[in-house]
Amino acid sequence: MNKVNFMIDAGIFAAFLAAEEPRLTGINWHEWLSVALAATIIVHLLLHWRWITNIVSKYFRKLWHVSRLKFIVDLLLFAAFTGVMVTGLMISRSVLPFLGIQAAPDRTWNSLHSLTAQASVILLGVHFALNWDWVTGMVKTFFRRLFRKAEASGIRPALVTVPKDKIRGQS
């Protein structure tokens, strides 16, 4: 389960960075990628549902805890993401017209889109930092497993032993 979470989170992170750079993808890809990202974020929330309900139920019991800070940051991140998505749809040139809807042009949506996008970057940074221990733990576990598998199959990735006569033969 942790592995699935890690893979989804890594995908969300990469997609978020790509979606935050419309010049890299083009506007059409930017919009559709963002819609896909919204769906993936819903999956991310569903996978962490138990944590969310636990925090909500225990929120007022303990005054200070890292989980409380995480929850506040996550709430703000959710609000910022929702803001980016809604304002993005309002200035959409592909997604809404594809559905047969066209929003009336308004510069304020652009400003709000910009504001919420920048807030998302900052809040994602804080979210990432607060979950740093989990990320590093997962990366360590991944490499440990990789190393064990390599050792089990007789490959030693870190230490490559070369017979002395071969070294002599090369010189």
Binding site: E20, E21, I27, T82, P97, N110, L124, A129, W132
Partner: protein, 120 residues
């Protein structure tokens, strides 16, 4: 199986409802009133060009523009502001480094204080 599907559907509904409330809050805060028009009667939607720009090209030095000449996606990351991919990565890395450092120092201070306190 059906129960599980209903539970997941209910949770998705809760998430969408929360997003709806956030949207309402944002609209109230910004004073915006979303208005829609049919693409057939719209004067801003264009099918000309690969980018959808009325003249079929991205204006030099700017992003996409609508029919009125106003920039829709100007310079910058998103809608005329922010940074590039590298800048966004740098922001996230910087925040991560700062928070990890703060937590490390915080931990050091509290561990030292805890070590100095007499055991009960």
């Amino acid at each position: 199986m059906m129960r599980r599907v209903f539970v997941i559907a209910g949770r998705v509904l809760v998430i969408l409802l929360a997003a709806g409330f956030v949207t309402l809050g944002m609209l109230w805060w910004s004073g915006q009133n979303p208005q829609f028009q049919s693409p057939a009667h719209g004067d801003t939607l264009s099918t000309g060009g690969s980018t959808g720009h009325p003249e079929g090209a991205i204006p030099p030095g700017g992003g996409l523009r609508d029919g009125t000449g106003r920039g829709l996606h100007g310079r910058g990351v998103v809608a005329g502001g922010g940074g590039s991919l590298a800048q966004n990565l740098a922001v996230i890395a910087g925040i991560t480094l700062a928070v990890v450092l703060i937590r490390w120092i915080w931990g050091l201070v509290f561990q030292r204080r805890a070590a100095m306190l007499p055991r009960t």
